[in-house]
Symmetry: C2
Subunit: 237 residues, 2 copies
Amino acid sequence: MSLDMKQDIPLAAVAVDLAILTVREDSLMALAIRRGIPPFKGKWALPGGFVLPEEDLTAAARRELAEETGLADFRAHLEQLATYGTPGRDPRGRVVSVAYLALAPDLPLPSAGSDAAAARWMPVDDLAGKLAFDHPAILADAVERARAKLEYTPLAAAFCADPFTIAELRNVYEVVWGVELDPRNFHRKVTTTRGFVVPADGTTTRDGGRPAQLYSAGPADVLRPPLMRTGVTGADR
Amino acid sequence: MSLDMKQDIPLAAVAVDLAILTVREDSLMALAIRRGIPPFKGKWALPGGFVLPEEDLTAAARRELAEETGLADFRAHLEQLATYGTPGRDPRGRVVSVAYLALAPDLPLPSAGSDAAAARWMPVDDLAGKLAFDHPAILADAVERARAKLEYTPLAAAFCADPFTIAELRNVYEVVWGVELDPRNFHRKVTTTRGFVVPADGTTTRDGGRPAQLYSAGPADVLRPPLMRTGVTGADR
DNA sequence: TCAAAAGTGTTGAACATACACCCATGT
DNA sequence: ACATGGGTGTATGTTCAACACTTTTGA
């Protein structure tokens, strides 16, 4: 059953790397680990590791996510980002890395992972020049994907601890996009778009001022209709 | 330098598979090959092959594209789609496949590829139940990606032979989306969106009726501004 | 002359933006 | 009382969808 028995098929190591993003205060952050082993020992990198022989790619990503964040049931959106396999991207040899994008609320400071000397949130802007391997490119692609996805999916809620206020959700957009949004129009848009958010029990004054209604993310599989327009006309949707 | 010298890192074969889509007459088609070698000999599959030891993933995809279509400089849009690595997806052993999506104009019937007994365009709907491996899932993802990308990028032109008429471009949307678009509104929308298409020399009557102005795809790197709306309000763009 | 497709003008509805204004809390 | 943020109402502009109408060819 082994591949190399059949004929001369080149082999490679397969890894997963994770770009775990969160919104903290007023900047977009990513989880970085300081590498405890060569190559690039002592440098910062995205969390990741090799895929086990009988392990699915997504399972490997979930495992790394749990390991690196230190939380067993870390609630986060996880999706495949892209695969990076340029020869020479890893000095150890041919390594093809499947990168995953995770969006997480700004909750627990991760305790140091097993094989990581240190793990911490760092602003993506600071991180761009610090990362080992081709991780700067992976991170850049991750940020771009996240920015784009906020435009046409209700995914922003993945950055918020549940339940959240509309203002907290708005802050996600403002930080990720680097723009200011009108609180009143944003409130209307988000609350009137069916399936985007659903009211939760209670209110909070943690943001100051008048108590704010709490919300949860809408059911994941609910259709999110005119969040986006046709863009080319005439489609009757 | 070999990986297995360092420690026990599991290895896998890395392949690329191509979902090459085109719009023919009135249906969306994909290029399929009839497999000439086991496994699944005689069954239909997406074109693909193993990545060479010192070959970049994109280069492997381009190589396969050229090989399978039989054209050296096959003009087509090519982008990475997703990576499929579930254990057992290939009976020969652990094979991680990086799938690429290609959008091509309906031009030359491909001559049979090297290791393919036959290669032909087939409607994606017919193909769904016929493909080997997990290729039905790959094709489904490819079609979904293509559908989505038409909504917010000027990519439809990749399906058209250059230069093309607005009606031909409209046909792409109608076939890919399975909807009817108003020719008049579509014409206005496409021609007034800056950077989407640029007028080419001459006109044609190949579609019958009054001569139609010919167009080419807009410069790839031109910004495609409000092809999509903010979707969440307030961003001043 | 007629069919067929290209292309323009126009109108009402839907939606986005901007902003006036009121509400409910903590201090 | 007043500062702070939550939330609603409303006017104005832009875009979309529907469709009447004119233009230019081939048969």
